[in-house]
């Protein structure tokens, strides 16, 4: 990643303006961006969704989507202003001199063609090689991109590749014509962290070796800090700060960069988070204990029968909080799915394999794992949305599969509520926000119309949304606001446990930090217990007390959260931790 100090920059963007046409108006998306990339350098553009970072990158290779067009400024590549060229001349730069690694490996390979054919196309279109020579080159390129057994891999179709392998193939295609500049647009955001690290390491090595300059587009500040020499922070279509990566990270000047660095979970000081967490825990444990005593004291519902008294189990945990009796306990929880096998036979697939854990009152247990680890299946079984094949989920001492009567079922539902991942799918688009939050209250016959309205106002206030959103519809709110509404709905029935299934994964870092803070505040205030499902270990530190690391349906490590981060026992946990981007970057504070 050494910046070669040559006189002339490879890419120089000056005062670039880009607008999208909507109706008859031009809506500006990028306003006055300046950017310089020298040969062999890695420059990262960092920003949240809608900041204009991808639009800027796509303008360089004349691939602006839809009605986007450049309204001003210049893009100089190797001394030639690309904006003044004809479409045909611009095309000569694409692939040949500027390569692209696109964002989504799933949709960027044509499923009808062999992977080799698609890379060969790059070679032929750019007149690098033809026929047999091109075939040989394809194999070399795939090998170079880190795919084993490249010869037979080249003959396979995209669906035979995993996500990581597809991204490697796309990197091979991007570098096929040996460009001088490679634009990598969120190249790994769709991949698991461990795969992400492998791919980025490989990309780094490769571009270093070939002397290719890289323009990395990412929302992940940690990742940018680790990989880039020069950083450009974008916000609302403008560059708010740019400079040497290390300098910006350690001493951000613009309030937005400061906010971004403070919110990035991978970059926050561990000490600070542990202290915050301890405060939350102390308060939550107190509230939860009160709550538990109340439940047991009043003998409310059949669930409380036989549940162990909370006080006698109390001992101090690593955050100094009291550990009370578990509110949820799973024993050897197993889920086997039947998948079509060879011929008519069915194949068994064990998604969750003998998972046992406890969730203590007023605490958070996080289940961490990569895609396919079975973590969401566990969440669905705990919520009673999926029947376990074997094993039990006990809620307050009662096996939930034995709950049969409608009244008991409703009683259980009131006490355990979910918040899901996708803020765009978790609210019914036909329901106003008021109706969405009212639905659980109405269904459980809570209160009169007036009382319900007061409750909804109160809930919106708890999740820091103005009461004005009540009459709005989900399509009028941002992702973070929708997720707040989803949390308000989950809290409507005053539950004791909230299952958060990747609840912050789809949000931009700033919004993610706010929602995590909100969840911590609510836990302290209401004594909630959280089951927090995530693929992102960095987030876990901010909220979890206990951590379960899952791999292929099994729990590989189970410990307190400080312990997992400071002294992980299992090789897999260590790998997950090492893959958190930006971990190696030293912050000044």
């Amino acid at each position: 990643m050494t910046a070669v100090a040559t006189e002339r920059p490879l890419l120089q963007i000056r005062d670039l303006h880009i607008a999208f046409t909507s109706g008859k108006k031009d809506v500006p998306a990028v306003r006055g961006v300046d950017l310089t990339v020298y040969p062999g350098q890695t420059v990262a553009i960092v920003g949240e969704s809608g900041s204009g970072k991808s639009t800027t990158a796509h303008a360089i290779i004349d691939l602006l989507p839809g009605t986007g067009h450049i309204t001003g400024g210049s893009i100089e590549f190797d001394g030639v202003d690309l904006t003044s060229l004809s479409a045909r001349k611009k095309r000569a730069y694409r692939g040949d001199r500027i390569g692209l690694v696109p964002q989504d490996p799933m949709s960027n390979l044509n499923p009808l063609y062999r992977v080799g054919t698609q890379i060969k196309e790059v070679l032929e279109v750019n007149d690098v090689a033809r026929g047999k020579a091109a075939d040989r080159r394809v194999v070399e390129l795939l090998e170079e991109a880190g795919l084993g057994d490249a010869e037979s891999r080249a003959r396979q179709y995209p669906h035979e590749y995993s996500g990581g392998m597809r991204q490697r193939a796309l990197i091979a295609a991007g570098l096929a014509a040996r460009p001088q500049l490679l634009i990598a647009d969120e190249p790994t955001s769709a991949l698991d962290v461990t795969v992400q690290k492998q791919i980025l390491d490989h990309l780094d090595g490769l571009t270093d070796e070939l002397g290719v300059a890289v323009l990395l587009i990412t929302h992940d500040l940690g990742l940018a800090a680790e990989r880039a020499d020069h950083l450009v922070v974008m916000y609302k279509g403008q560059v708010v700060e740019s400079g040497p990566a290390l300098q910006i990270l350690q001493d951000p000047q613009h309030p937005y960069s400061q906010r971004l660095i403070n919110s990035a979970p991978s970059l926050r000081s561990r000490r600070l988070m542990a202290r915050e967490r301890a405060e939350v825990r102390a308060e939550a444990a107190e509230t939860a204990l009160e709550h538990a005593e109340e439940v047991i004291g009043h003998g409310e519902g059949p669930e409380s029968a036989g549940s162990p008294s909370s006080a006698d189990a109390a001992s101090a945990d690593e955050f100094g909080g009291q550990v009370s009796a578990p509110v949820i306990r799973t024993t050897d929880l197993t889920k086997v799915f039947k998948l079509p096998g060879k011929g008519l036979a069915k194949r068994d697939f064990t998604a969750v394999d003998a998972v046992s854990f406890e969730l203590a009152r007023g605490t958070t247990t996080a289940i961490v794992g990569e895609s396919g680890s079975g973590k969401s299946t566990v969440a669905r079984m705990v919520l009673g949305l999926l029947e376990p094949t074997s094993g039990t989920v006990e809620f307050d001492g009662v096996d939930i599969t034995t709950i049969r009567s409608r009244a008991q079922q409703l009683a259980f539902r009131r006490r355990v509520q979910p918040v899901f991942q996708n803020p765009y799918a978790s609210l019914d688009p036909m329901y106003s926000i008021y109706r969405s939050i009212e639905e659980p209250l109405r269904l459980h016959g809570v209160g009169t119309g007036k009382e319900r309205e007061r409750k909804i106002r109160d809930l919106l206030d708890k999740v820091s949304l103005p009461a004005a959103v009540m009459s709005r519809y989900p399509n009028e709110l941002s992702g973070g606001q929708r997720q707040r509404v989803a949390i308000a709905r989950a809290l409507a029935l005053d539950p004791e446990v909230v299952v958060l299934d990747e609840a912050v994964s789809a949000l931009d870092v700033l919004v993610q930090a706010q929602i995590l803070k909100l969840l911590n505040d609510l836990q302290a205030e209401l004594g909630l217990s959280y089951l927090f499902i995530t693929h992102d270990l960095a987030v876990v530190r901010q909220i979890a007390d206990q951590v379960l690391v899952m791999q292929q349906g099994r729990v590989v490590e189970q410990a307190g959260s400080l312990e997992v981060f400071d002294s992980p026992r299992e090789e897999y946990t260590k790998r997950l931790l090492a893959a958190i981007p930006g971990r190696s970057v030293e912050l000044a504070s």
Partner: protein
């Protein structure tokens, strides 16, 4: 990362914070009134010329259907053979047909049969199709298998052929059914074989919606399956069904005309465009006095076109992705 001197163009730059003021993330735009999906669709619809053209035409057609007497005082069944095949003249703008009926009057009175068949068939088909498709998609497994196979069987038989067979069979058991009996018979024959199309579309829409997280969220608050189906899933899968319904309305009107033309749909005693087109057959062969054919055929074309235009406009409003 090596500590090198910043290169030209890469010195540390900080934008003045006044230029891009940070926005509070909890902000909600309250300047405009709240908008649900339907309201938004209406906004798109309102700006579409196709919608207004078809709406005006359909309004006129509906008035004709309900109050034909407002448009003509001539009895469509008053035959004066002496004026057979006379051309347009004062008081009789489209002239007379072979039987000496007033063509204009018959076009006006014929609208009712065509439009009623189209509307009724569409309503019945949509209700059956929506319900069966929703249940099939929602419950899956054997329910889906049974409904899907039955729908396939009905789908495999061509609509017109099935209607011809069905109506001939009906003629034996229910002869002389009068005006409304005649209309209903055609409606049932078309509806019996038209519903699988809607079933398929509703099933597909429900399958897509039922995988979304708000459905799980609703289950998690303890909503029953049926409640979930009726309060969340069906309302969200309505858009494609409505689009199909408006477009197929025109198809059913054409189907009715075809059946009547073949002499199997509405009995000749009922004034309808299909029957009049059939009666004009001999003129088609001889090639003169074509006004007898063009008047009912033109009315049919305009009506079908209006419904198709409306269907396209509604599709554009409800499903922006299908827009070209």
């Amino acid at each position: 990362m090596p500590e090198t001197m910043p290169l030209a163009g890469q010195t540390h730059f900080v934008a003045p914070s006044s230029e891009t003021p940070l926005q509070a993330t909890g902000m909600v735009d309250t300047s405009a009134p709240p908008e649900g999906q339907w309201k938004e669709a209406w906004k798109v619809l309102r700006r579409n010329w196709m919608f207004w053209v078809s709406a005006v035409l359909l309004l006129i057609i509906l008035v004709v259907v309900c109050f034909p007497g407002l448009f003509t005082s001539v009895d469509p069944r008053a035959s004066s053979l002496s004026r057979s095949l006379e051309g347009p003249q004062a008081g009789h703008p489209f002239g007379f047909d072979k039987q000496g009926y007033d063509v204009y009057s018959r076009v006006v009175y014929g609208a009712r049969a065509s439009v009623v068949v189209g509307l009724l068939t569409t309503v019945i088909v949509t209700v059956i199709g929506l319900f069966s498709g929703a249940v099939a998609g929602f419950f899956g497994r054997w329910v889906d298998a049974v409904i899907a196979r039955i729908a396939d069987i009905f789908f495999a038989i061509p609509l017109l052929l099935a209607a011809i067979v069905g109506l001939s069979a009906l003629n034996n058991v229910w002869p002389n059914r009068g005006y409304w009996g005649g209309v209903l018979a055609v409606v049932f024959a078309l509806a019996a074989f038209g519903w699988p199309q809607v079933t398929r579309i509703a099933r597909g829409a429900v399958l897509e919606i039922k995988g979304l997280e708000f459905v799980d969220a609703s289950r998690a608050i303890g909503a029953s399956k049926w409640r979930n189906l009726f309060s969340h899933i069906i309302p969200n899968s309505l858009a494609p069904v409505i689009v199909t319904a408006t477009v197929s309305l025109g198809v059913y009107i054409v189907a009715e005309a075809t059946l009547s033309f073949l002499g199997i749909g509405l009995p000749p005693s009922i004034v309808s465009w299909g029957n009049d087109i059939a009666a004009a057959q001999s003129q088609v062969r001889s090639g003169d006095n074509l006004h007898v054919l063009f008047a009912p055929a033109g009315a049919l074309a305009v009506t079908v076109l209006s419904f198709m235009l409306l269907g396209d406009a509604v599709r554009d409003a409800l499903d922006p992705k299908a827009r070209k």
